[in-house]
C-alpha cells in the first residue's frame, strides 16, 4: 500500500473478462446497486440540478452581481484586489504551498531518523480532530491578551505587541492560513513519506557512484520522482480550500469587515442567514465550476492508473 498513485491498479480488461463470465447477474446488480444509486439520485443529483436552476432564477443576474457588484466576493476597487475569491487564491498559494513545502521537509527529515513514526504521528494528529476544535486551539494561540494568548506572550518577551491577529484585516488571513497549514501538513507528510520510501535505493546509489552530489540527488532524482504524489496532495488540498468552511466559521465568521470570507463561507452566509437563496445557489454553482478542472485531473489520473476504465 505504499504506492499512492496506483494503490489498486489492475490490468484493464481483467475484470471485464470475468465480468462477462457472471453476466447473468444483472438482476443481482440492481439489488446491490439500487439503494446507493437511489440515494445518490434523489439526495445528490436532483438537488444539484435544482441548485443550478435556482441560481438562474433571474437569468444571469446573480452571476453578474457576484462577479462585478459584490465587493464581498470580488472587488478590484483596491489594490491588491479583495473578496472571498481573492482569499481563496491566497489560500491555494500559501496553504497548499505551505503544506507541500513543510510536508516534504518533514518527510525528508523524518525518513532519516529512528523516531520517524513519533514525528509523523504528532504532525498527523490534527487530521483526526474536528476543524471546530482546531479553530478553538488557534483562537487560543492568537488571543489578544498576552496573559492568555501564547503568540502575544511570546511577542511580549520581545516587547512587541500585543496584536489582535484575528481582529486585524491585514493579519487575519495569515493567521487562518497558518492554522490551516498546521492542520493539514500531516496529510502531506504521510503521503510524501510513503512515496519517498518507495523510491528505489538502487537509483540513488547508482547516482552516487556516478559522482552526483547529494543536493543534485535531491533536486534531480527525489523531487521528480515525487512529482506525481506531490500533485495528488496538491489537488486534494485545493479541494479542501474550495470547500473551506468550518475553520472560517469557528475562527472569524468571515470577519473583520468580511475580510476573511471564502467562497464556501460566502455561500453559507448568503443562503442561510441572509435568505438570498438564489444568490447563494449561484455561489454554490461557482464552487462546482471551480472544482471541474480538479475533477478532470482526477479522472485522468484514475484512468492512467487504470483505476477506472
Amino acid at each position: 500500500m505504499t504506492n499512492v498513485v496506483a494503490p489498486v491498479a489492475v490490468p484493464r480488461r481483467q475484470q471485464g473478462a470475468f465480468g462477462r463470465f457472471v453476466s447473468g447477474w444483472s438482476i443481482a446488480a440492481g439489488l446491490f446497486l439500487g439503494p446507493a444509486l437511489l440515494l445518490l439520485l434523489v439526495f445528490m443529483v436532483y438537488p444539484t440540478v435544482s441548485t443550478i436552476v435556482l441560481s438562474f432564477e433571474n437569468g444571469i443576474d446573480n452571476y453578474v452581481r457576484l462577479l462585478t457588484q459584490d465587493p464581498k466576493f470580488l472587488s478590484f476597487s483596491t489594490f491588491p484586489p479583495r473578496g472571498a475569491l481573492v482569499n481563496n487564491v491566497l489560500w491555494v498559494i500559501f496553504y497548499v504551498g505551505g503544506c507541500i513545502f513543510f510536508g516534504l521537509l518533514i518527510a525528508v527529515m523524518a525518513s532519516r531518523v529512528r523516531y520517524e513514526s513519533f514525528i509523523t504521528a504528532i504532525v498527523f494528529l490534527p487530521q483526526a480532530i474536528a476543524a471546530t476544535a482546531l479553530g478553538v486551539i488557534w483562537r487560543f494561540v492568537y488571543f489578544p491578551n498576552e496573559n492568555t494568548g501564547l503568540l502575544n506572550a511570546v511577542l511580549g518577551i520581545f516587547n512587541a505587541g500585543p496584536i489582535a491577529w484575528l481582529g486585524s484585516v491585514s493579519w487575519v488571513n495569515t493567521g487562518l492560513i497558518i492554522a490551516g497549514v498546521w492542520g493539514s501538513v500531516g496529510f502531506a507528510t504521510v503521503i510524501l513519506l510513503a512515496s519517498l520510501k518507495g523510491i528505489s535505493t538502487e537509483i540513488i546509489e547508482a547516482a552516487r557512484v556516478d559522482g552526483a552530489r547529494e543536493s543534485q540527488i535531491f533536486w534531480r532524482i527525489i523531487i521528480p520522482m515525487l512529482s506525481l504524489p506531490i500533485s495528488v496532495v496538491a489537488v486534494t488540498l485545493i479541494i479542501n480550500v474550495i470547500k473551506l468552511f468550518d475553520l472560517i466559521y469557528v475562527m472569524t465568521q468571515g470577519g473583520p469587515a468580511n475580510s476573511s470570507r471564502t467562497i464556501a463561507f460566502s455561500m453559507y452566509q448568503e443562503a442561510l442567514p441572509s435568505r438570498n437563496f438564489d444568490y447563494g445557489a449561484a455561489i454554490a454553482v461557482m464552487m462546482l465550476v471551480i472544482l471541474l478542472p480538479v475533477l478532470i485531473f482526477n479522472i485522468r489520473r484514475f484512468r492512467s492508473d487504470r483505476v477506472i476504465a
Binding site: 446507493a36 525528508v108 501564547l150
Partner: protein
C-alpha cells in the same frame, strides 16, 4: 537544505563510534524535528493544560506558568461544560448522528462496490465514472434544495434527515475506495465459489466481505471521523434537540468567546473520541488515506 539532501536510505551503522558520528552529523535534522514536534504539540498542549486550570487562574495568568510552579488544577471546567453547557447531551447526539451515519454508508457502499467490481451489467464503467465524478460535488451544492425536499417529505430537522445527508455524501468515496479494493481480490476464489453454486449474495457475504475487512475498516474510520467532526451539515440538518458537539462548541464560542475554561474543556471533549480512534486504529487510517486521497 544540504543536510536534508543526504541519502534517503543509508547503510546501517557498524560500530558505536560510527553511530555517534552519524548522530552528530544529523544534529541539524534533530533540531529541525524537535522544532516540528514543539510547533505541533504546544498549541494543543496549551489548551489541554488550560482545560484543567481554575477559571480565576486562566484569567490572570498564562497556561505556561504551570511550568514555573503554578500548579493549580481542577476538573471543574469539565463538570461545568458537561452539566450547565449541555455537552453531555451533545456528546450523545454526536453518537446518535455518527454511528448510523457510519454503518449505513458502509453497508450500501460495500454492496454497490461489489456490483461494480464483480458483476457485469450495462454501462457499468460509465456509471462508475459518474459516481467518481460525484466525489467533487460540494455539500453547498445541495443545501437549499435538500432542506426544502426534507421539509416536503416530512423529515426536516430529524435524525433520519442528517443520516441521509451523511450517507449520500459518503457513498461516492466509499464505492470508489471499496470497489478498487474488491477488484484486487483473487479471481480464482470468487470463480470457485461461483462454480460451487454460491449465490452472488453469498459470495459477497462469505468471500468478499471477510477478505476486505482492512479496506472496510479504513473507510469506516474515515466516515466515522468525518461525521463526528462535521460542522456544516450539522448546522443545517441536525435536529434542534439533537445538536452535536461541534455545533454546541460554536454556540459556546458565540456566547463565551473569552471563557477559556469552558471552551478548552469543550474542545477537548470533541477531540477525545477521534483521538482514541486515531491512536487505536492509526494503521487503517493511514492506509485509507493513502489509498484514496481524493475526498
Amino acid at each position: 537544505m544540504t543536510a536534508l539532501a543526504e541519502p534517503v536510505i543509508e547503510p546501517p551503522a557498524k560500530t558505536p563510534a560510527e553511530k555517534i558520528l552519524r548522530f552528530i552529523r544529523k544534529t541539524p535534522i534533530h533540531i529541525g524535528l524537535m522544532a516540528v514536534a514543539v510547533f505541533w504539540l504546544v498549541p494543543t498542549l496549551g489548551l489541554l493544560i488550560t482545560s484543567f486550570r481554575p477559571r480565576s487562574e486562566i484569567q490572570s495568568t498564562g497556561w505556561w506558568t504551570v511550568f514555573t510552579g503554578n500548579l493549580q488544577f481542577t476538573t471543574q471546567n469539565y463538570s461545568d461544560v458537561i452539566g450547565a453547557q449541555n455537552m453531555l447531551s451533545a456528546f450523545i447526539n454526536s453518537l446518535s448522528i455518527t454511528i448510523p451515519a457510519t454503518i449505513i454508508p458502509l453497508i450500501l457502499a460495500s454492496l454497490a462496490a461489489f456490483a461494480f467490481a464483480w458483476v457485469s451489467f450495462p454501462f457499468r464503467d460509465t456509471i462508475f465514472l459518474i459516481i467518481v465524478s460525484l466525489l467533487m460535488v460540494p455539500i453547498q451544492m445541495v443545501l437549499i434544495p435538500l432542506s426544502r425536499l426534507f421539509g416536503d417529505i416530512g423529515i426536516g430537522g430529524s435524525f433520519l434527515g442528517i443520516w441521509i445527508v451523511h450517507t449520500t455524501f459518503a457513498l461516492p468515496f466509499g464505492i470508489f475506495l471499496l470497489r478498487n479494493f474488491f477488484i484486487t481480490l483473487p479471481r480464482d476464489l470468487i470463480e470457485a465459489a461461483r462454480i460451487d453454486g454460491a449465490s452472488s449474495w453469498n459470495i459477497f457475504r462469505r468471500v468478499v466481505v471477510p477478505l476486505s475487512v482492512p479496506a472496510i475498516a479504513s473507510y469506516g474510520i474515515f466516515q466515522f471521523l468525518w461525521v463526528w467532526n462535521d460542522l456544516l451539515i450539522a448546522l443545517v440538518f441536525a435536529p434542534r434537540t439533537g445538536q452535536p458537539m461541534t455545533v454546541q462548541v460554536t454556540t459556546l464560542l458565540g456566547t463565551y468567546a473569552s471563557e477559556w475554561n469552558l471552551l478548552a474543556a469543550a474542545a477537548f471533549l470533541i477531540m477525545v473520541v477521534p483521538l482514541i480512534v486515531f491512536f487505536s486504529l492509526q494503521r487503517y487510517f493511514v492506509q485509507g488515506l493513502l489509498a484514496g486521497s481524493v475526498k
